[in-house]
């Protein structure tokens, strides 16, 4: 394993709403390494996106981080020219302060899934462009290229002209046709897929140490998606960037990740290398997920294995193991009473399931 970049330790995030408290993330622990891709998989509401936002200290309201730490191994040039690594707990930083703003976008960049056509009319001409763009919004009233160039300049020491050239080159690499002309387009002149690619181009053009990609290609066509995935991998090789890739698409994660964490209802239930997850999954939930997808060449028109029941109501979580009401290996008297602990089942392969716990 290469050097750690971000260590998430026992992260807990709660949402305090009228109906009660939701434990959106309840004790997540994992590490993202330089030059590696960590895949985070799970279904809607499992807490994967909230975890990603916590890393940038921007959990949406009324969410609140109530425990744990996020240790960022920040590399900075020292006085004698060499690099030093200082460890910063991101959760200790002022969420609106100068330091976290430098980190967001510049050192840890992010791409979120575009809810189709998200031009934000709430930002007016006075808004700080780089701030908005960093938070994954394009302003409707400014040319795409200008917004890109300004963001690049905020995070890299380049001239305006250089920034524009970087923008054009990046637009070309995300597959925007005629980038030299499109750089002068306004956001509304681009299609939804093109806007999403512009956001990806911006995130990558700041040469971040880490990229958090939350369902970045879900809204894109497969041919474009393929292009973006290739680009991310190329840049990772060039710059040793770490990627945290959040998705529900098991095909995408199989291709991108070296290590995978599986989340269910705010908990990580299994953690292993990508090969172990796909070829030797241990947790019944991981297995069920893998069996429920249609695959090429798998018996056509056969019934897919589906997970019985539904994801439980977050206000009334099951006792014991959270997956027990839907689990095919449910052991009465055990799974509904005892909360499973982490058990090591192989090299770097961890699972939280009573089936593997020794008495």
């Amino acid at each position: 394993m290469s050097e750690p970049l971000v260590e998430v330790k026992n992260l807990k995030v709660r949402f305090d709403v009228r109906e009660g408290i939701i434990k959106a993330v309840d004790g997540a622990t994992f590490t993202v390494h330089y030059g590696q891709t960590l895949g985070v998989i799970g279904e809607s509401g499992c807490g994967k996106s909230v975890t990603a936002r916590a890393i940038l200290n921007m959990v949406p309201k009324p969410g609140k981080v109530v425990g744990g730490e996020i240790l960022y191994h920040r590399r900075r040039p020292s006085e004698n020219g060499s690099e030093v690594t200082e460890i910063v707990n991101i959760l200790d930083l002022d969420p609106d302060g100068e330091e976290i703003r430098q980190i967001r976008g510049g050192e840890i960049a992010m791409i979120f899934q575009e809810p189709m056509s998200s031009l934000t009319p709430v930002y007016t001409a006075g808004a700080h462009i780089t701030e908005a763009v960093t938070l994954h919004r394009l302003l409707p009233i400014r040319k795409v290229g200008d917004q890109m160039a300004e963001t690049i300049q905020a995070h890299r020491r380049v001239s305006k002209q250089e920034a524009k050239e970087i923008a054009i080159e990046m637009l070309r690499r995300v597959g925007i046709p005629n980038p030299r002309e499109r750089v002068d387009a306004y956001p509304h002149q681009l299609s939804g897929g093109q806007r999403q690619r512009v956001m990806i181009a911006i995130a990558l053009s700041c040469q971040p140490d880490m990229l958090i990609a939350d369902e970045p290609t879900t809204a894109l066509d497969v041919s474009i998606e393929a292009q973006i995935l290739d680009l991310m991998r190329e840049l990772q090789e060039e710059t040793n960037m770490a990627i945290m890739f959040i998705t529900h698409n098991l095909g995408v994660v199989a291709e991108m990740a070296q290590e995978i964490v599986v989340m269910y209802l705010g908990n990580i239930v299994e953690r292993a290398s990508v090969v172990d997850i796909f070829y030797n999954p241990k947790h019944p939930y991981t297995r069920a997920l893998l069996e429920s997808i249609p695959r090429f060449g798998k018996g056509r028109r056969q019934r897919l294995t589906s997970i019985k029941g539904m994801v439980p109501d977050p206000f009334h979580l099951p006792s014991g193991c959270l997956f027990h009401p839907r689990c095919p290996h449910f052991m009465p008297g055990k799974c509904d009473r005892i909360e499973p602990k982490w058990t090591q089942v192989g090299d770097n392969h961890w699972v939280r399931c009573l089936l593997y716990e020794k008495e």
Binding site: E43, S44, G175, I176, P177, G193, Q194, D221, V222, S223, E225, A226, Q227, L229, D230, H248, N249, L250, G251, V252, A254, E255, A257, V274, V275, F278, Y279, A288, L289, L290, S292, I293, P294, R295, F296, G297, K298, R300, R301, R303, L304, T305, S306, I307, M310, V311
Partner: protein, 346 residues
Amino acid sequence: MAEQERRDNILLEVRGLKKYFPIQRGLLRRTVGYVRAVDDVSLYVREGETLGLVGESGCGKTTTGRCIIRLYEPTAGQIHFKTTALSPNGDPQMVDLLSLDKERMKTVRREMAMIFQDPINSLNPRMTVFDIIAEPMEIHGMGRGPEVEETVVRLLEHVGLRPEHMLRYPHEFSGGQRQRIGIARALALNPRLVICDEPVSALDVSIQAQTLNLLLDLQKDFGLSYIFIAHDLSVVQHVSDRVAVMYVGKVVEVADVEHLYSRPLHPYTEALLSAVPKPDPLYKSERILMQGDVADPANPPSGCYFHPRCRYAQPICEREAPEFRELEPDHWVACHRAGELHLKGV
């Protein structure tokens, strides 16, 4: 299969379907051009089978589906549908839907239904589940009072919901359950053809599996034919008997699912299949990257629409539009070089 038998089984046959949307500009809304959303599409669906319709966004797959049930009025073409609703004794007869008047079209439309992608926006939030499912029956004057209620209960049970859910509103349900409500509504009139437009793409994987299983069960139980529109090629492969691939308003290849996936004849099909990420970390992908974006349907390129992105393109591809031909039995393709190329499937 003998030619005659093949014809007898056909439930729907679309010939030369076109749908052009006018582009209007200026104060007087003058028409300055047309978006050729669907441009000369021909296809057929046999009774009890599923035809998958795939392609990238904007290729016209949804518009094709909507033209077939005349939600959009096609610009040109013929849509022959075998209906039993028009003759008093229920004998099947082939009619061209586009020649029917409003009244008769309404009658025939009972036998066609649609399932939409977005289970949140396609259900009226102010209506109870009962009203949502019963509405089509009311519109068509089928059944009264207790009869309607009986049907609704039966439909709910069929799609895996409980009868007591009847009086609730859509927002009280999860995405997967809402999609079930949409499916129950689609089945209310005993359709023969159901057009499923991206029915599972908004759902989580485990819910997607449940919904696909349900659609396959219902097909068996009710003898339904499906047109299954989706961009996810592995889902389409799972449910379809035959698959049509669309590119910029045209069908570029149709074949039964095994042939299309294992031995595609069109370079676009080959590229699409290669681009799908495979859920196998040890799979060595040999991905074919398509250059540039999908062509603009308002201003398509000359010759074969795919030629600017095709790695096998020859001068002829730029000059002439390829003919849609049956290269192998029941395997149709529109490509000048089909047959001479050895394309890779999955």
